[in-house]
Every structure is written in C-alpha cells, then in structure tokens.
Amino acid sequence: MKEEIIKRCNNSCDIVTRTITKNKLKIDIIFCETLSNSSIIEDNIVKPLIINENFLITSPTLKEININNTYNLLFQGFTIIIINNNKIYSIESKINLDRSISESSIEGSITGPKDSFVENFNTNVGLIRKRIRNKDLCLESLNLGHLSNTKIGIMYVCSLIDKNLLKKVKERLKRIENDIINDGGYIKEKLSSKKMFPEINQTERPDLVSYSLLEGKICIIVDNSPTVLIIPTFFIDFFHTADDYYQDNINTSFTRILRFIAFFIAILLPSIYICLITHNKSVLTDNILNMFTSNNSISSFSLFFEIIILTISFEILRESEIRIPNKVSGSASILGALILGDAAVQAGIISPIMLLIVALSSISGFVFSYNSIVNIIRYYRMFILILSTFFGLLGLYIGLFILISNISSTTSFGYSYTYPFDPLIKSDLKDTFIKMDTNNRNPLLTKKRKR
C-alpha cells in the first residue's frame, strides 16, 4: 500500500516514508516534508507510537480514512499512518507557511483597526468571526480549480441574507471551471458580467467585511488570497471607506464630498482644459485665456499630444513604482517626478500648466484605494479627452452622458448599481454624499431594515 501511494504521487522527492515495527505491528508513516512540520511528526506521532501501543486508539486527532482520500490529505500537510498494510489513518501535522497578520498596505486606516487578511483561509475566517461572535454567521465551503483544489468559503449572516442572492452566487461559483484558483481575482472575474464597472468589491480589511456581512451581503474567502470578495457592491461603496465609520460625521462628510469632487476632477479636468482653450474660448475671461495661451506657447506640440505624453509617462511611472524594489523606488520617484518633469518643461516639450493639470487629475485618482475604480477613471479620462479634443464641450457632454448611461446600466447580481439614488430610498440618502447617523439596513438586501 505504501509503495502504491508513493507511485501514485509520481515518486515526488518530498514524500517521505518511515517504517516502525513493534509487536508484530508494521507501521508505515508517510508525509510531505514541505507541507508538514517534522518536529510535530517526531514529537506527536513517532515517539508516542514507540512508547504507547494504544496511541492509535486513544489519540483524538487520529481519523481512519480510505485510500482515495489519502492523496488529498497528504498534500494538505496531514501525515498518513498505515497499519499492517491494511488500515489507513491520518493525523494533522501542517507546517505554518503563512505570514503573520500585518497592517493593511493598500487600504490604510488612521483611527480604525490596522489588521488585514493574510493568505491563510482559517486565519481570515477567524478575523471575521472574532468581530461577529454570533451563531447566525454561516460559513459554507467548497473546492474550486480542477488541479489546484482550492478551498473557497461563502460567508453570510443567515438571518439577514436574501436567499435568491445566495442561490445566484452559488450557481455562478459552480460554473467556474479553472485549473487553478490562485487569488480572489480569478473568482471576481468569473463571477462578474462583462460590464466595465466593478460589480464585486475586493478588500483586505476584516472590519469592512464584517460591516458588509451585517448589511446582508455575501463574502467569499479564497484560500491563499489576502483579499476577500464582497457581493453585491454598489457604485456609492467605492466612495466610502471603513474608516468613515470611526470618525465624526462632519469630518467624514467633508472627506466624502472631497472624494466626489476628486472623481470628477480625475476624469474631466484635462478635457475641460482642452475644451476651454481650443474650442470654447468665449467662456473664459480675456485675462485667464491670455495666461493659459501664453503658457502653452512654450511648448511646440499640440495640447492633445502634450496630455497624451504626460498621461502615458505618468502611467509608466506608476506601474514601475509598483514593480520596483523598495530600495530604489525613492530614486525612481526623484528621476520621474523632478528630473523628467522639469526637463520636459525646460526642453519645451510640455507647458507647465499642462503638467499641473495632468498632475492634479492623476493625484485626484489616488483618492480611491480600490484598483478597479482607478482603472475606470483612467479609461474614461482618455475616452472623454479624445471626444473633447475633436468636438469641444459638445464631445465632453456626450462623453459624460455615456459615462452616466454605463453607470445606470450596470447591475450587481441583479441589484441596481445606483442605490440609493435609484431606486430612491430617502432614508438611506443620509449615508451617501454626507454621513448622518442611520439605523437602517439596505432594504434591497435584507427584510430586517432596523439595525
């Protein structure tokens, strides 16, 4: 039996075997040394086996299994014990390959909790459970990925959840046919429809996940992924952060309004500048127009070309900043921001005002910590920019209409994306642009409206 198991594991060199013979008993121990803790095996399995004959009967963690489960358990870090080539037992001996809980790197917090999810499924579930210590918090699990066999957890509060939503999520999850599920992003892509706006939120903050669960949403935890998926997501959610609920209403309202302004600056500012300088000059007073045009005369390129150069260089800088090792990132920033920017202005490739416009627009995009909304901003900035270059304010308006129609047509698992504006829920408007105390849950998601 031992030989058969090793053979079916394709003679992998990290599969280790040991044989102990005692009182006519032949005990074979098989484990994967890269996934198992050898000291646990030595102290908790081999030594007790040698000392105590009754270990196999008394050990509470020992389970009898059949040969088909052997391979699964072996590669989950279990140790397989075969007695007289007849009975097979498994005992847990996993090694901890995960990093410890650390501070969130993407979604920072000023006053709120600092912990974030890690790559371990159980740790992530624990981080949520310790926030919601309630019997109604349900966890269902399934394995996805034909070859990777990754553990997926569906978490929800059963007293609040909309059963249709749960059914829909389960159905869509079952349809996923991937060989490997390395991250929550794989599932996010497969669960979403082909719409441009994100229908699922991906977060690394357990406090946000627990808040969403209590709103009647579903969370999907993926083993080996440091993020958790929240279903469904509304457009307004991208303008809110978990930190909003730890600060006073006035400060939060101010920050939220700033975020909305930043969203429109990030998308529209370069386009508005182009429109007012090239097509619709009569809007601005002569002084302002002269100031802009005299600045533009420094550069010999067209405004559109300048914006394109600047935007593309900025995107390259941003991308390199993510990939570059930390030790050299400081020098890369200096090279990009100071030397390249200053040199480009001095050489007459770009005008200083254009540098200011693109910088302001790009910085406004960084207000959002969710990558999916940053991508949307980037895409629409270019789209509206092209339209306004050719058609002026008319192009800008048409671009804006298309943006609004795309937001309107998006649905997240059948729920209107524009909640609470459409369907209009007056009481929930208190927690949108501004923050006011509200004790209501989202009526679209749950029938238990009062918190």
Binding site: L394, F401, D422, L424
Partner: protein, 249 residues
C-alpha cells in the same frame, strides 16, 4: 421590474418632460390661463383613456416626427452656441449616444434621466434666476396671441404622448400612475404661470456674467440642459420605436 423600480420610472420621466417647458414660446398671463382652461378637460379625458391600446403605426410616426423635431431644435441651439462646425456631426453624436442608451433598455433610460435630472434642475434654477425680470409682472400688453395658446395646448398634450411611450407591462399600479400624471400637470401649470409672469425671453439661457474673474459667459456650459433633454427624449423615442417594431414582428 419590481415595484420600487416602477415608481422611480414614471416619476423621472414625468419630471423630465415637465421641465422641457423651458423652450416654450413666451406666453403672457392671459394666454397661459386660457391655454390651461382649454387643455384641462382634454387631459382629464385622456387620463381616463390612458390604458387604451393606441395604434402602433400612429405612435411610430409621431415618435419619429417628435424625435426629428427635438433633434433639429437642439442642434440649432448647439450650433449657435457651442459647436460651429458641420451640423451633421452634432446629429451623429447625439443620435449615437441616444441609440446606445436606448439599446440598454427602459430601466437604464430611467436611471440615467434620474441622475441627469439633478444636474438639469440645478442649472435650470440658475437660468431661471438669471432671467427673472420683475418689470414683467406689471402687465401692460393685454393683446392675446392665439397661436401661442395653440402651441401651449399642443405642448401639454405632447407630454401625455411621451408618457404613453412607456410600455404598459411596466406600469404595475395604474392608479398611482394616473395620480402622478395629475400631480405633474399641476406643477407644470404653476411653472407656466410663474414663467409667464417673470420671464420674457424666447430661448432662455444664462445672461453674460463675470464670475470670480474667471468665467465671462456660461451659455456654453448651460447649453447642456438642451442636450440632456434631447438625449433622454430621443433615446425614449428610439426605444419605443424598437419595441413596437419588435412586438409587431
């Protein structure tokens, strides 16, 4: 389509259409009162008959005509104020944007009109305030232009026609729907009276103002209201034509 969605559906379309009155010709207070008195019984008659299945052919023809009129009207304003190049570009841009919206269905048209309505309403208030002429309240001219009354009458019925474009299967609560229509007409007539008393421009746009020494004219910016109107209307017509043709097949 559930009930919540239906409620916002009718309201947004009705409100949108209501404020379309901004392009109305100038009426003095007597003309306004006469046109209201004539149109009221006709509207009340139609509200009772609002469920009657209208002839598809007539709806298609009228939808098409109104669409062309709306396009021509908006394109003329845009050409005068915003985009002085070839007119055909304005037609194409507006039609393409409206077609894309109409393809996404009635619910998307409604949500878009709801979101755009906030912007529309803010701009409308600005325009209204900038165009107020207090001296107009003192009525010196008592001559009545019957053409203006007919125009206003047609416009009142035109609102009803636009409401009929909503497919009947999307209207769940007929009573509520009729109540909304009645309320909208009340607001519409109040709006007409205030406008006839305070404003005497044919096409209303914000007057030249110097704002913070940065902007000297906001006409180009506030022309977006005409575009929003046309955008939503044309997409509604296109949606209606598409649905009727689909049903006929």
């Amino acid at each position: 389509m559930n009930k919540e969605k239906y409620n916002s559906l009718e309201l947004s379309i009705i409100l949108f259409i209501l404020l379309n009155g901004i392009v109305l010709k100038r009426l003095n207070i007597y003309e306004t009162v006469i046109s209201i008195l004539i149109s009221l019984p006709i509207i009340l008659f139609f509200i009772k008959k609002v469920n009657i299945h209208l002839n598809r052919f007539i709806i298609i023809i009228f939808s098409f005509l109104f669409m062309i009129l709306s396009l021509i009207n908006t394109c003329n304003i845009i050409e005068a104020l915003l985009f002085k190049d070839k007119k055909i570009i304005i037609y194409i841009l507006l039609l393409v944007a409206s077609y894309l919206l109409s393809k996404k269905g009635l619910k998307t048209i409604v949500i878009s009109s709801n979101l755009l309505f906030i912007l529309y309403f803010i701009i409308l208030i600005f325009i209204f305030i900038s165009n107020i002429n207090i001296s107009n309240i003192i009525i010196s001219n008592i001559s009545i232009n019957y053409l203006n009354i007919i125009y206003s009458l047609i416009y009142s019925l035109y609102i009803l026609f636009l409401l009929l474009l909503i497919p009947k299967e999307n209207i769940i609560n007929q009573r509520k729907f009729k109540n909304h229509i009645k309320n909208v007409y009340i607001i519409f007539y109040i709006y007409l009276i205030i406008k006839s008393l305070l404003i005497n421009d044919n096409i209303l746009l914000m007057k030249d103002l110097n704002i913070l020494n940065v902007f000297k004219s906001l006409k180009e910016i506030f022309v977006i209201n005409y575009l929003i109107e046309s955008y939503i209307q044309v997409s509604l017509y296109l949606f209606c034509i598409r649905i009727i043709i689909k049903k006929a097949n």
